[in-house]
Each structure stands twice: as C-alpha cells, then as structure tokens.
Amino acid sequence: MPVRPASHGTFVTPLEMEQMVARAGLVLNPGQLADLVLTWRQVAALIAAIPRDRPLADDFAFTFRRGHDDRRPTHCKSESREKTRTKNGIGERERTHPALALPRR
C-alpha cells in the first residue's frame, strides 16, 4: 500500500516502509506494520502541512546563560511588576513565552 510521504515528494512503498522500520531498529509483525502504515499516512500529512518558508536568518539560536534568574519573564521582576499593575491585574506585561524572551543572535 503506497503511503503519502513527509517532505520527500515521493510515495513510500511497503518495502520502503519496512526499510524505515528496520533502520529505526524495530521488529514489527504484519499487523503492527499495517497499523504503522495507516498512522504514518496521517503523520506524513501533518508534516506536509507545516510551512517551511521561514528565512534561514530568522532561525532561533541557542544561548548559553549563567543563571536561572536571567530567564525570568520581565513582568515577574518585582520592580516592573508594580508598574504594570492595573485594576484588572493585566498591564503591559511581557507577552511572550520566556523561551522567546532570550536574546537572539
């Protein structure tokens, strides 16, 4: 049964699927292989749906930091916290996840 691929642009034949499974170090019986073929078709469709048009230069970089404290979101630091209080408890907070708050290269 041909399986729609991830980003390869080709079908995955049962033989190719068996090779992929062997490369992953798995030993599957025919029923398990049939299940995997069905699931892989769904996963391949998900992979194909992920856009890849982001410029390379825009990729995230890993940054090595000295201490935990640097990772604190801005709004959590006590000085800025007071300033951003409003009657509803929402002010001009740091809106991004701390992982994204890291400086980019």
Binding site: T39, R72, N88, R93
Partner: protein
Amino acid sequence: MSGGDPGQLTIAEAARLIAAKKLSPVELTRALLARIERLDPSLNAFVTVTARQALAQARAAEKAVMAGKRGRLRGIPLAYKDIYETAGIRTTAHSRLLAENVPKEDAEAVRRLAEAGAVGLGKLATHEFAIGGPAFDLPWPPARNPWDAERFTGGSSSGSGAAVAAGLALGALGSDTSGSIRIPAAYCGIAGIKPTPGLVSRRGVIPLSPSFDTAGPMAWTVEDCAILLDALAGHDPADPASVPVPKESYVRALGLPVKGLKIGLLRHFHERDVPASAEMLQTIAAAARHLAELGCRVEEASLPSVQEYNAVGRVILSAEAYALHEANLQTRLSDYSRTFRVRVLAGGLIRAADYLAAQRRRTDLITATARAFTRFDLLISAAVPGPAPLLCDQRPDEGFAIPFLTTPANVAAIPAAVICAGFSVRGLPLGAQIMGPAWSEAVVLRLAHRLEEAIGTRTRRPLPAPMAATMGATMGARAARVA
C-alpha cells in the same frame, strides 16, 4: 462529620468545615475510601488505592488541625494520576512495563501537596504513558465517565476526571501535553487548568513530550483548582524547566473584578476548524453572553487554525515520545498496548529536518498567539466539539486524524482552563476553554470562576444509572451536605 455526602463537598467547603472542627479529616477520608470501594468497580478511576497511608495522613492532618495549624488543603483527600511518582507506592503509568515500579521519592507536586497537609487516596488511571486512548489490552481497564459509564472520560488524565466527577476524591493531579487535563475535565464536567510551562514542577512526573508536558490540578470547581495551584506553583531548582516566578495567591485573585476585561471569542476554532455540535455552539454563545453581563467586552478574535497548531504539536510530540520509549519499543514492543504503539511508533520515522521544521513553526505560532493578547486579555472557545463520545467508538488508528481544540495552548505555551459551561440534552457536560497569555493564571482562573458561578452548573452532579441503586440516599441535598 455532617450526615451529608462527603463526595459532594468541594475542597473549599471541606476546608472551611475542617478549620471550624466540624469535619474530621479521618472521617472524611474513611467516607471517601468507602465511596471508592462502592463506586470505583463501575468507574475504574483508580489503579491503586492507598487506604492505609491515606488514613495515616488523615490522622496526622487531624492532629495538626487540633493543634491549631491551618491551611486550605489540610486533611483534604486527593488522588494522583499514575504518572506522578510516589515514594514507596507503585507508579505504573498504566503500563505493563512499569507494573512493578516503586519509586523512592515523591514527585515534587505530590510532595508539595503532602506538605500542605493533603491526604493521598491513591493513584489514578491514565492512558498508557499519558498518550493514546482507552485501551483494553492493559493490566487495568480504562476509566469510565461518571455521567454515563458507557462513555469516554477523555484523556489522558482519565482517572482524574472520573474520580473528581464521581466524588471519589475532592481534587486530583493531571498532566497536559496536548489537552490531557482539559479534555477529561470537559467530558467529565469538572474544572481543570493547564498552567504555563515552568509554573508547576515536572520533577518526578513520567515524561511524554518535554516540549509540551505540564502538570496541573483538576477539581470540581475553579476555586478548588486555585486552592490546589496555590500549593503547586513555585520554582523548583531541581527541575531545569522550572521558572522562578514570584509567588502569588490564585485564590485571592478570584475576588478581583472582571469588569472591563477584553475577551476574544475564537469562533473559528469551534465553528470552522473543528466544527462543534449545535448544543456546544449554543453553550459557548451563552457563555459569551454571560461574560458580557459580567461587564467584559467580548469581540471575535482569530488565531492560526487549530489544524496548524495540531500539525506542529503532533509531529513534535510523536518524535519526542518515540525518543523516550525507543529502547523499550525495540525490545518490549508487545508489552505496550496497541493504542500506544499506533500513536508513538510513527514518531520513529520522523526525520530530524521535519522535527526541526515543526519546532521552528512553533515559535511562529507562539508569536502569533502572543500577538492576539496585545488586543485581548483572554480568549475563549469550546474545549471539545461536543459531549463525551461512547467508549466503543474510540478507535486507536484515528489518533492523528482529529485535531484537538486544546492543543493550541500547549503549542503556544500559555495557560488554559476548562469549566463546565452547560449540559447536552442527554445531560452530558459541555466544556468551555479560557486561555490567557503566559503567566496569567490568576486572571484565567478569575474569569473562569466568575463564568462558572454565572452559568451555575456546579449544583448538578453525575448519577449514572447503573450506580443509582447503590448510591441510594447518599446523594442528599446540597444543604444537608454542608450542614
């Protein structure tokens, strides 16, 4: 203790009675253990009941109360999803692979609850290793929904949803990688919150997908979730993903006003992306009207499609889950359930380039979601497309085909709470989801609490037909329960 039904007390109600010395933690624990013995054979919410330890903890709590010690969780019986490690108590992840696994230490979340005086009733059913669906080829059967035992609880915190809804525990720990707190909360008609990653320690919680795993509370009311989160939240230096945010009281925040909050209604989530049932659409529309009556400004909002979030989330989750289980999948494949194998094996075929493409796209989706919060304080949508489906309709091979309305909050790394916002014509719960920007748990819980009160679903408890006879007079009037 009052002559009412202890299983229908909320944590807040029980805490007030215990503090006033009108309710004994030991009697409360005994009553819940008896209730578990009576009702759990129909629900399968528990994998392990720790009666002896629970009674010892209850006695210690009672002694502390009599000595004047206070605390909202002192003497409160809770239960933990069986992926939370518990010292000296079997932690199975509902899997044959860990059937004899007895950890030496408590998970940090369990430790914090115990430190607050909570009583641990036992370990709760989950989908195997917190992924997949109900499986009948495991040593323990899947949990059943207390509103209708033929129906699915949702998962993977299936036992947590069932135990709280049936009043077998006053609160529970769940975990949420793609909706595993919020989906069972919605199907079982309770409240739950998936916090911002890093707020609650994951140390000692068996991982599934480190990019998304979050630990959090489930309870009958939002107020109870706030009580639990007050104890759970806080920096854990031993968890590298834990973030040192200042402590705040989520319970205290419940009393602040919601008037003036700008709420974005994500209609495209449940109308176009994952079309919900007519009664769910009516329920969310009614919730929006309640928000307007509370003084919130409700306007239509939009985010990238649910499908986009799900594609990214599922590729990352599958690859990471496979990586964690690779060694066992290569050597003990048949010890896993078919459901687990179907959901995880494909992760072994995902190329590194595709995994990284998903991670890169995730940062775009985080940014797009954060942008929505420059216009809105909070977002609301359906949590699930309709009421709990039948257990017999759950198919393992459909795992990736149906997108979850809950996954966007995991991908965007934001907090999201679920409340019971209404009931279907068959009397099954319908859940609404409230999302906020990262670290806005206090505001999310505040709005969820006010909305839950305004809608008024918390006086209705499940009474599944097969249990009605055995439960008999225990389902007394609410006034009698708290008298």
